[in-house]
């Protein structure tokens, strides 16, 4: 018995070692948060516009019934979210210079605050859904604000980015995803 017991530590160590070796796989990024939505159709949701704002609301139909040409960027934002401010400038520039189609989900935000925020910083969004109670946020499976999704022409989610789209690396990832989404769309129309 004692003999068997003495082998227990080495057995446990070897098992743990196996897991550690697996964990070193260079393709594995422990910081990556997978999204169940990738390659899935956009979740069902229907959001009213932000109260007192001219921009129309956003629903899954707006994303699914896309004309198939241009991918859509869906950005989850809130006026209380500090990084969103920084990201806002980047997205605005991408709308202006790259001509991307940007739609917003205003997450758990008071309409008054959201209006002030957009009046302050400008409104680059084509449509904005007001998600007061965070239900759409649950459908989208967001883990925080901001988050950004890319939807291709067929209404399929192709990319998810957690955190503000800031810096060359993040912007590069978003551009790559947009390019991929465009090719998806082109493949289906042809």
């Amino acid at each position: 018995m004692k003999r068997i017991l003495a082998f227990l530590p080495i057995v446990i160590a070897v098992i743990l070692g196996g897991f550690l070796l697996w964990g070193l796989n260079p393709d594995r990024d422990p910081n990556e948060i997978p999204s169940v939505l990738i390659s899935q159709p956009v979740p069902a949701f229907d959001l009213p516009p932000v109260e007192g704002l001219d921009t129309p609301g956003l629903s899954s139909a707006d994303l699914a019934e896309n004309d198939g040409s241009a991918p859509i960027v869906v950005n989850v934002f809130a006026s209380w979210c500090v990084p969103c401010r920084a990201e806002h400038a980047v997205l605005t520039r991408m709308v202006r210079e790259d001509g991307i189609r940007l739609m917003g989900i205003n997450y758990k935000d008071k309409p008054q605050d959201a209006r002030n925020w957009l009046a302050d910083l400008g409104n680059p969004y084509e449509r904005i859904g007001s998600d007061l109670d965070g239900r759409a946020g649950i459908e989208w499976g967001i883990s925080g604000v901001p988050e950004t999704f890319v939807i291709d022409g067929a209404g399929t989610v192709v990319f998810r980015f957690v955190g503000p789209v800031l810096g060359d690396e993040a912007i590069g990832k978003l551009r790559t995803a947009l390019e991929q989404a465009r090719q998806n769309g082109a493949g289906e129309t042809s």
């Binding site: 080495i10 897991f19 964990g23 422990p30 948060i33 302050d120 910083l121």
Partner: protein
């Protein structure tokens, strides 16, 4: 030129370490005294060479030699000198060099200080130590060379991560490594004993001071890190159960178990294989910590640059060190028969429970730390394990431990009288119940765990004092006699008293700052007033200041209580333009009753000048954590300074056991 000298010294050091890995062992096999003694000479040489390399790297940082990649990416010419020096160990490569430096210094310590160790044991211990040195030196030379050059040299450096430019954190790694690496000596002793196939009380006596020394350093290292997180990160917490915190905590827990178990091995000649196993596991956990921090295996706020190749190399080192030693253990441990028998109620049994609880606690933390990895490997699901897990698993184990801790020191060896001990503690039990009730009365809606914990902290404190009073027979004999007894009590005993009391003090701090913390977060404009824990805080405004390599925006908060002035808090937000990031310098007013803590975040955008995010916390009793941790470390130091450890030969115990064999 200087970096090349450092590089050359490192290469030579590897060669010397390889010689020391082999020659003394061959000496023990052939009874060649010269070969065995060579370990002393080579460990001196090894230390000198690694010290030269470390000095060369530090020199490159001090003179800002940006032709060295490591300097260019971790330093800046405008940085204050203290942080230029500290940047030597701020990067992966540099900290590894510090790691190895401490490793060889400990080896040197054994070869010079340990004069009364049998020659064979010493030769084997130093050889094992050299294996570890060779492993890490080769790791450094092949994958993480600190002296790599860059051409063309940049005009200026990229600066050290500003979060690390802090006195508390500058001192954190050296202490932590002294702890981690200090356990390597204990590991080497254990492996040497396994090779020899023999453990006796004398062995435990040689091992204990090294364990204690490493433990004291590790305690200080962990506390410095925790203190740094508390005032620098701006969240006001001091422990987050982050993987990297956990991997430093596990060796601490295992090391605590180790020196308690070594007491039994030394005094009663039992728990031999268990003590050996703990010695191996403690250092294995230190190695695991090194691996986790440097491989990017787990998500953490702390991490060095991630490189899978390095990860593979360290994992191979781990496999050799841990796998080899545990295999040796599996083969040899069954031969070590236990010594003295003991009754179920005895000091030995108390220490056994201590060890079981500490081992379980260590396993709990290990499981919590690796669980996300295990789950991801098996199911692909990604999760993180946070405080809720540790609150229901780790904390209860520790509470039971504290309960037993009160009783353990009062038990006598071999066979104890539990009824008599409990009789002596009845007043303490009553008082701690009162303390718990008082807490419950003051904070009826509060967490039940807090009530229980305060009661147990009072219990531990009372039991420790009771034990001490019993030793000096306070109240039973004249006061002068008690004083005489108090003076004659061994230092090691005071070490125990102080360390156990320190844990009780820590507990009070843990509970106070986690259960009764209050927090206010506001968007503040100059003139904003708020109220927290009876303090009135007024935000006066912000001024811009310029530091040596940063720009600071310092807020001014006037704190009053019932209309009378208390203090002015000046939290800062520092922007480091070169490193491209910012740090929070929180302002803290510390009293024994609690800390008033303020941190500030710049306005969300340039358009909103004047709207600052203020985070004001009141953390009751948090300073007790630092005091208690200081007592823990002081207890270790007191115990180390005990005369018993300084005199040469182990004294004979009263027990009629085979006297420990000292000389070969």
């Amino acid at each position: 030129m200087i970096p090349e000298i450092g590089q050359f010294a490192l290469a030579l050091a590897l060669a010397v370490a390889l010689v020391q890995s082999v020659l003394p062992l061959m000496g023990t096999a052939r009874n060649n005294v010269i070969w065995m003694r060579s370990a002393t000479a080579t460990s001196v040489l090894l230390t000198v060479l690694v010290a030269i390399a470390f000095g060369a790297l530090m020199w490159s940082f001090v003179v800002s030699d940006f032709t060295v990649v490591n300097v260019a990416s971790n330093s800046h010419s405008l940085k204050p000198m203290l942080f230029k020096v500290a940047a030597t160990w701020g990067s992966h490569e540099g900290s590894l060099l510090l790691w190895v430096l401490i490793l060889v210094i400990f080896g040197l310590g054994v070869s010079l200080l340990a004069q009364n160790i049998p020659l064979k044991l010493k030769a084997r211990t130093l050889a094992v130590q050299a294996w570890i040195s060779a492993g890490f030196l080769s790791f450094m030379l092949f994958t993480s060379n600190p002296f790599d050059r860059v051409f063309p040299a940049p005009l200026d450096g990229q600066d050290l991560n500003p979060l690390l430019q802090d006195v508390g954190l500058a001192m954190h790694p050296p202490f932590l490594y002294l702890g981690y690496v200090g356990f390597s000596i204990v590991f080497s002793f254990a492996v040497a004993a396994l090779i020899e196939g023999r453990v006796d009380p004398a062995w435990a006596r040689w091992v204990r001071p090294w364990t204690l020394a490493a433990w004291v350093f590790l305690t200080l290292g962990i506390v410095l890190g925790s203190w740094w997180a508390y005032y620098e990160l701006g969240w006001g917490g001091w422990w987050f159960w982050d993987p990297v915190e956990n991997v430093s905590f596990m060796p601490w827990l295992a090391g605590t178990a180790l020196f308690h178990s070594a007491i039994v091995t030394e005094k009663r000649d039992s728990f031999k294989s268990w003590t050996i196993l703990l010695a191996v596991l403690t250092f294995s956990l230190s190695l695991l910590g090194t691996f986790v921090v440097r491989s990017g295996l787990l998500t953490s706020v702390h991490a060095f640059s991630v490189d899978p190749e390095r990860g593979i190399y360290i994992l191979a080192l781990l496999a050799i060190a841990i796998g080899g030693s545990l295999t040796l253990f599996a083969v040899r441990a069954p031969q070590m028969e236990g010594g003295g028998l003991f009754a179920p109620i005895s000091r030995e049994a108390g220490l056994l429970i201590n060890n079981l609880l500490l081992a379980t606690a260590t396993a709990t933390v290990l499981f919590g730390t690796l669980y996300p990895l295990l789950l991801e490997a098996v199911t692909g699901e990604k999760i993180s394990v946070g405080p809720p897990y540790y609150n229901v698993s780790f904390v209860p184990i520790m509470l039971v431990l504290v309960l037993v801790m009160g009783i353990g020191p009062l038990l006598s060896w071999k066979r104890a009288d539990l009824r008599g001990v409990l009789d002596r503690l009845k007043w303490v039990a009553g008082l701690s119940l009162l303390a718990a009730l008082a807490v419950w009365y003051l904070d009826t809606g509060g967490p039940a765990l807090a009530v229980l914990s305060i009661g147990l902290a009072a219990w531990l404190l009372g039991a420790v004092l009771t034990e001490w009073a019993g030793r000096i027979r306070l109240g039973e004999v004249p006061l002068a006699e008690s004083m005489r007894r108090a003076r004659n009590l061994p230092r090691a005993h005071y070490g125990m008293v102080v360390a156990h009391a320190g844990l009780a003090v820590c507990m009070i701090g843990f509970v106070g700052s986690s259960a009764w913390k209050s927090e206010v977060v506001v968007f503040a404009e100059p003139g904003t007033e708020l109220e927290i824990a009876g303090f009135d805080v007024r935000f006066e405004g912000v001024e811009d200041l310029r530091g040596p390599n940063y720009l600071s925006r310092m807020g001014t908060l006037t704190v009053t209580r019932n209309g009378s002035y208390v203090t002015t808090l000046r939290p800062e937000r520092r922007a480091y333009p070169v490193a491209g990031s910012s740090t929070t310098e929180s302002a803290i007013r510390t009293t024994l009753a609690g800390d008033l803590y303020a941190s500030i975040q710049e306005p969300a955008s340039e358009d909103e000048q004047g709207r600052w995010t203020l985070r004001i916390l009141y953390e009751p009793l948090v300073v007790w954590i630092w005091i208690g941790s200081g007592l823990l470390a002081l207890g270790g130091v007191l115990s180390l300074s005990d005369r018993r450890l300084r005199v040469g030969a182990p004294r004979k115990r009263t027990r009629p056991a085979p006297a420990p064999v000292v000389a070969e």
